[in-house]
């Protein structure tokens, strides 16, 4: 199955081609949906097969390469279309195809009756193809191909309903914003690639990483490379300062938000940092920057999430916040903990988004949680699964989020320090609070919509079964990474599985420091207590005493409006970056440089040629004899010249 891994990558492309080219002819939603999700389903089975085959191999033979063809070969640059099947890429591939398949099935129900049903599935398949290239690539160039491909699909899918209004403008403007912001990050990625090639003379992961350890390259080069790579990661994974596109990306259909903007694409940055962990390990300063950005993003996004009313906006800020946790883990050198959280987050955040989609479906496109309430009795399955996901993201044991988040918090305490842990725990408390604010406002209390006009209903089986599957994964997914203090000698099996990938990076970092089990239990207890406190607080405020929320808003008007307006980051970017660029482009580049100078050059050239021609064409009289005269004079001159030069 390892040799067949290319099929897992190319089947989605086939699905894209079939649905994309013949979609308008097929028309039948069942066939289109079957092709779209079937392609991903088979991919998933192949990846599962490859996983078990790899599992059966001895630990030191678990990295395999599948070479398809040489892509480009110029001088010492030799880039192959080759896939690297190892522990890390398999975990990612399982998440992408597994969660991707579930979301595809859900989409058949969710997109039912859409006029461009076929286009939706074509784009989704194209996305999976690009994402698989990103994670399976064995070199930076192929990874970059996937990296750009997922960006393109993200753009196409955010603007899927391109004729629909979104906030102040349109969904296609939101897609454009995502694309442009990502482009800033991509420049960083590209520059980093150039530097890597310059110093390591290769773009293949395995060669670069072995040379990074053996060659004597100065430390500031590593810092520059990793910082540039991290710029790319902040763009793709929506970290400060390039996070602004993700909330707007909610303009797309909800399954897209679940697949691309929660479970898979936005984690590409985290994956890339984990993949290049060796380089990061050589640059401790960058590690610190990654950790600071990560923890700050986690905190900052969580505060915004506290006050938002759009159900998808809350989830979007929650995603940014959880991605911040993953980068905190990366910065702390706890790479496998970060990947673990990536995986559990894919489960419960996809579930939250799909649940939100189910609710939006039932409430006729209403997304404001202030107009929900009491949905518990109308949609029991959505309610139950949403509750599981909310518990998981809040870090309540034994749901999956508890294990992954707690591991990150523990490593941030041991490897970075108390302050990082404290901010992390505060974020966890806020996470529990806003998640359960969302939960209580949606499912509990009295309905705040007109029950005579809106009849909420449970979604069809095609949508609820995926919810149940994801709920099971969110509930028990954490058990594969039970921390050592619970499992004893057996150790953390997820960590053991990934450890060969991160061994060389962790050797470089080598955090020493004795920490007792008592400390670990204590910190764990504090974070769980904090999460429970957040939940109880939300329950008290939004069920028992709604007046508290209103009064708090009134009392802290300034803080509330700042949070409500997302710290005015968009406005600040508009004023400091976008407007100056747009204005100077318009007044100088367009009206001055383009209109006057470029156009002037071209027009001037044409005019001067015309002027000269109008002089010269006077010679063209049409009288044969004048031509003959000129010819004769020419021959005479030539003759004289020949005779004189003899």
């Amino acid at each position: 199955m390892i040799d067949l891994i290319y099929l897992a990558v190319f089947l989605p492309l086939l699905g894209f081609l079939i649905n994309g080219i013949f979609g308008t002819k097929i028309k039948n939603e069942k066939v289109i949906g079957l092709i779209g999700s079937g392609a991903i389903g088979i991919s998933f089975l192949i990846v599962v097969g490859a996983f078990f085959e790899t599992l059966a191999l001895p630990v030191d033979q678990r990295t395999n390469f599948v070479n398809l063809f040489t892509w480009m070969k110029v001088g010492s640059l030799d880039v192959s279309f080759a896939y690297q099947v190892d522990q890390l890429s398999l975990v990612m591939a399982l998440v992408v195809t597994g969660v991707g398949f579930i979301i595809h099935v859900y989409s058949i129900g969710y997109m039912h009756g859409d006029k461009a049903f076929w286009r939706f599935f074509a784009y989704l398949n194209l996305f999976i193809f690009a994402m698989m290239n990103l994670i399976m690539a064995d070199n930076f160039v192929l990874m970059f191909l996937g990296w750009e491909g997922v960006g393109l699909c993200s753009y196409l899918l955010i603007g899927f309903w391109y004729d629909k209004d979104f906030e102040k403008s349109t969904t296609s403007a939101a897609g454009l914003k995502a694309f442009v912001v990502n482009r800033i990050g991509d420049v960083g990625f590209l520059l980093a690639m150039f530097l890597i090639y310059l110093f390591f003379d290769s773009l293949k992961f395995s060669e670069v990483f072995s040379r990074a350890v053996s060659l004597d390259v100065p430390g500031h080069i590593f810092m520059l490379i990793t910082l540039l790579l991290f710029v790319g990661a902040t763009g793709k994974s929506a970290q400060i300062p390039l996070f602004v596109w993700l909330p707007d990306a909610m303009a797309g259909p909800t399954p897209v938000s679940a697949l691309i903007h929660a479970a898979t694409m936005v984690t590409a940055g985290v994956y890339m940092v984990a993949r290049t962990s060796v380089l990061y390990a050589m640059a401790p300063t960058t590690m610190m920057i990654v950790a600071v950005i990560g923890v700050f993003t986690a905190f900052f996004a969580a505060t915004i999430g506290l006050v938002q009313n759009d159900i998808k906006k809350v989830l979007a800020y929650s995603t940014i916040s959880q991605l911040g946790y993953m980068f905190l883990a990366m910065g702390a050198g706890a790479f496998s903990a970060g990947i673990f959280h990536l995986m559990t987050h894919a489960f419960f955040k996809a579930l939250l988004f799909l649940g939100a989609g189910s609710i939006i479906h039932a409430m006729h496109e209403q997304q404001d949680i202030q107009h929900y309430g009491g949905l518990k009795k109308y949609m029991p399955i959505t309610y139950g699964t949403f509750l599981v996901a909310a518990m998981a993201i809040s870090g309540i044991p034994p749901f999956s989020g508890f294990f992954s988040k707690d591991e990150i918090l523990w490593f941030s305490y041991t490897n970075l320090g108390f302050v990082f842990w404290l901010i992390g725990v505060l974020t966890a408390i806020m996470t529990a609070f806003y998640m359960f604010r969302l939960y209580f406002l949606t499912f509990d209390g009295k309905p705040r919509f007109d029950e005579k006009q809106t009849y909420p209903h449970e979604s069809p089986k095609l949508m609820t079964v995926p919810l149940i599957v994801l709920a099971v994964l969110s509930a028990i997914g954490g058990f594969i990474g039970i921390p050592e203090i619970f499992s004893g000698a057996h150790g953390n099996s997820f960590h053991t599985w990934l450890s060969p990938i991160f061994k060389s990076a962790e050797l470089k970092l080598s955090y020493y420091g004795a920490h007792s089990h008592f400390e670990e239990y204590l910190l764990m207890a504090i974070s769980v207590a904090g999460a429970l406190g957040g939940i109880l607080g939300a329950a008290y405020i939004y069920i028992k005493r709604p007046s508290i929320a209103v009064n708090t808003v009134k009392k802290f008007k300034l803080i509330y409006t700042t949070l409500w307006n997302k710290y005015y980051v968009d406005e600040v970017y508009d004023a400091t970056v976008i407007n100056p660029i747009v204005n100077s482009s318009r007044s100088f580049l367009w009206k001055m440089f383009d209109n006057k100078i470029i156009d002037g050059l071209v027009n001037g050239l044409a005019r001067s040629v015309g002027d000269v021609s109008s002089l010269i064409r006077k010679m063209q009289t049409g009288i044969v004899q004048s031509y003959a005269l000129v010819m004769m004079i020419g021959i005479l001159l030539a003759l004289f010249w020949i005779i004189l030069s003899l």
């Binding site: 063209q620 049409g622 009288i623 044969v624 004899q625 003959a628």
Partner: protein, 101 residues
């Protein structure tokens, strides 16, 4: 008594100049055409002269070629002039100046 080569060459040059002047200054297309023939024949004369002077027959053979080509050219040229005359009812070169800007 042998006629010296200079006489032939001078005659040939005189014929050629007559032809050139005729091409340049006459207005009737047929006369211009005849002047061209004159130039060709002056060249033929020169070739024959040198052939005899050098005792080499190549020049004379070449003249046959020139005459053959001149015959072909005369046929085409006259055809063009007739076609022109049918269109413009004139063979006056001054009035045939449609190929201009």
């Amino acid at each position: 008594m042998q006629i010296q080569i200079e006489y032939y060459l001078i005659l040939s040059a005189a014929l050629f100049i007559t032809g050139v002047v005729g091409v340049l200054i006459r207005r009737n297309a047929i006369i211009v055409f005849m002047s061209i023939e004159l130039m060709l024949n002056s060249a033929n004369l020169t070739l024959v002269t040198f052939s005899s002077y050098l005792g080499n027959s190549i020049g004379q053979i070449f003249v046959f070629f020139v005459m053959a080509v001149a015959a072909a050219e005369a046929a085409i040229g006259l055809a063009i002039i007739i076609a022109l005359f049918r269109n413009k009812l004139t063979v006056n070169l001054d009035e045939i100046n449609i190929f201009k800007w």
